[in-house]
Symmetry: C2
Subunit: 223 residues, 2 copies
Amino acid sequence: MNPYQSPILMVDSVVMQLANDALQVLLIKRANQPFQGMYALPGGYIVAGETTVSSHERILRSKAGIEKQLLRLVEQLYTFDTVAGDPRGHGVSVTYMGLGLDIIPTFGGETQQPEFFAVNALPQLAYDHAEIIAYAHERLKSKVNYTNAVYALLPVYFTLTQLQTAYEAILCRPLDKRNFRKKFLSLDLIHETNEYQRDGAHRPARLFCFNSARLERSPRSFD
Amino acid sequence: MNPYQSPILMVDSVVMQLANDALQVLLIKRANQPFQGMYALPGGYIVAGETTVSSHERILRSKAGIEKQLLRLVEQLYTFDTVAGDPRGHGVSVTYMGLGLDIIPTFGGETQQPEFFAVNALPQLAYDHAEIIAYAHERLKSKVNYTNAVYALLPVYFTLTQLQTAYEAILCRPLDKRNFRKKFLSLDLIHETNEYQRDGAHRPARLFCFNSARLERSPRSFD
DNA sequence: GCAAAAGTGTTCCAGATACACCCATGA
DNA sequence: TCATGGGTGTATCTGGAACACTTTTGC
């Protein structure tokens, strides 16, 4: 490939959600060369008239059937120069992270069935996508420490146990129940409701709700 | 301008250094429309065969006579879609922050003389460059809290007072001398030397040195 | 009554903050 | 000897970590 052409503009997307007490990331098995048969992040070229944001939305819709409303938080991660390892040659890839809940990817017509994989049990990945996912995971770990970003991964009403489980899945370590509750409640990011969740032979759990469904920075950091 | 063309790839650069106990940023007075006569960050188009990194280096060299070795720390900031306020139309701008010391910008041939301005006393800026500078400043504020990033703004040998002054200029607030020293020394990012700086009618100041001239993350955060 | 998850407080320790005086030098 | 910036220690407070039992429910 001619090394003296303008860089190609691409977008790659790290879509994450929680399932089975684990943080999962959306991957697509590549149908074509290069990296045929390996898994990759959904991504594609920016076409005429698109911003990176609108391109990101189009790519998720066309490759995984994910409408933009499903992603409750979208954040730009980093822009990579992909000169070396990328067989397509010289390109610039803008990466975004999208967080949601109960996302069911569908066959987009252009690709094989997209699937979610636990971030701790990824298959072999094409390009440098393993690093991009690791970067997204790090970003999320640090974001949940000083923002309400978890709201994007949880239902509107949730129990403190669900909240703690979400943090444990993101941070990949167990947290103390009493300290977690004391600390999180002191951040003033959530408020209790008068509703309870009854789901088994045990005491019902009070449901809580985030004060804001937009990203807010907490004055104090969490961890 | 035709809204249905591919986005133009650009690079903008926030070059910062310390002078007169203030954090300064490099600006160029625009010679041409749009925003003729206003100040702007050095920036330009990515041309054939360039990565964003090499484009950044070329633009600083050609517009401000700054060689890449002068920037002791370069970090990518964010990639902006510049659809709205930008009269050039639809573009994507990758922004970098570069930190250095004793940088003397020179006329690059293509532009008017570049100058450093204190970040707290900026002139009116073209495009959304005021926001980009604010973003860079925020990034730097948070970076110096958990990394050794200040090394890039200080000489190799420096006194603790110089170090504290640098932190005060970056964080825009005064710090307690005894607490600052105790805290910073406990981070194990610097070591003392046997050299002293003599510069006036007062006790000489011991010179210190960073353990690493690469970006290192301190295990504990500073503030 | 028993299994299962919800809910709740205290003690201890480390790190943050506040604060004022003596030291070494050059003029 | 004096003016100037360099250098140092303690007391207090706040937030983090560790830790175990009672409550409410469904079966």
